[in-house]
């Protein structure tokens, strides 16, 4: 579908100018970079994820892929989200 739209745009000559693309890309990346500035940078997330995983792995056998740590930034607060998909047999101790 988007290919057809693109083709129509191309034939009509209203292909997006590269300066417009540049501006949009900059606005998106800078909004992202500015949001991370001044607040605690999530540099510690990988380490945090490793340590949490190590603790949980002591009790439950989990897959690396079934473990996700995410930090979401909101205006007034940040949310640290842990998402662990437990295996079918939960009491399978290592």
């Amino acid at each position: 579908m988007s290919m057809i739209v693109g083709l129509i745009d191309y034939l009509r000559g209203n292909e997006k100018k590269s300066a417009v693309v540049a501006k949009e890309r900059l606005q998106i990346i800078l909004a992202h970079e500015r949001a991370g500035r001044g607040t605690a940078t999530p540099d510690y997330l990988p380490a945090l994820q490793e340590e949490l995983m190590a603790v949980i792995a002591k009790y439950i056998h989990i897959d690396r892929d079934s473990f996700k740590v995410q930090l979401e930034k909101h205006d007034q607060y940040d949310v640290l989200e842990l998402n662990i998909t437990l295996p079918d047999k939960i009491n399978s101790r290592v």
Partner: protein, 269 residues
């Protein structure tokens, strides 16, 4: 009270040294006692752009280390009476620049100069940080190109968070946007970010626009700051920049395409 102005950009090759040379010359041409300092220790180039490379004897590191007096290291500009250059060291590494030493030099310069222009090295390492730390005002030199705009934004973030003014909770560093290498023709065809786009993204006041021009290379070849060139758009654009900086209300020039011969003949602008 003397003002410290940093010329910065984050990205290299956008025109910091060209701007430092012309801007400081422009300030001096208006009778301001001005000194321009090269902070690019290890890769000094301001001396070449100012055309005083063969008169460099001592440099900023010699002064910081107390080996010579400031007076011994300052080089008088060949074009302007009120202008002096303090070169960077070419042989030492950038860690030789320390905040205490630079502060001592700036305090001493403040006694006899009106404006102290700091030509920052590229990057966000110690040299660039030292150049911006003591700034009262900043000229953020930006090309109409994505990586330059992004780096300028990063520099603005650092100015707002880590400069002396920010750290001590004083009035923030006054920021000025200077767009260089601008080509109105390419902007009109949609192939280059416009000055309005850049301003919208960076959100700081526009001090001026310097058009893309062969005369910048011509000036650097000759070792004469571009502001001194005759019949050059770049020279006029830099003179406007200095005028605006001094508080004059001048219209922006060189932001629209020059009318071609036929357009002029047909009564175009």
């Amino acid at each position: 009270m003397a003002k410290v102005i940093v010329v910065t950009s984050g990205k290299g090759g956008v025109g910091k040294t060209t701007t430092s040379a012309s801007f400081s010359s422009g300030l001096a041409m208006r009778g301001n006692r001005t000194v321009v300092i090269d902070f690019d220790v290890g890769l000094r180039n301001l001396d070449l752009i100012m055309g005083c490379e063969r008169r460099v004897v001592y440099d900023i590191i010699n002064v910081i280390n107390g080996e010579v007096s400031l007076k011994q290291a300052l080089i008088k500009d060949k074009n302007c009476d009120n202008l002096y250059i303090l070169p960077a060291s070419q042989t030492r590494d950038k860690d030789a620049l320390n905040l205490e030493g630079v502060e001592r030099i700036l305090d001493e310069l403040k006694e006899s100069f009106d404006f102290i222009v700091c030509d920052s090295p590229a990057g966000i390492e110690s040299g660039a940080f030292t150049a911006m730390y003591f700034a009262d005002e900043a000229l953020v030199v930006t090309n109409p190109e994505v990586s330059s705009v992004r780096d300028s934004d990063r520099i603005l973030g650092i100015l707002a968070a880590k400069s002396k003014r920010a750290v001590e909770g004083l009035e923030p560093v006054k920021e000025h946007l200077l767009v260089t290498r601008y080509d109105p023709k390419r902007v009109n065809t949609g192939a280059m970010l416009s000055v309005v786009d850049i301003q919208e993204i960076l959100r700081i006041p526009l001090l001026g626009v310097i058009p893309e021009s062969a005369s910048v290379l011509q000036a650097s070849n000759a070792g004469t700051p571009a502001i001194h060139l005759d019949k050059s758009d770049v020279a006029e654009a830099y003179r406007d920049v200095v005028g605006r900086f001094m508080g004059e209300d001048l219209p922006m020039r060189f932001i629209s395409e020059k009318a071609g011969f036929f357009k002029r003949l047909l009564g175009g602008h």
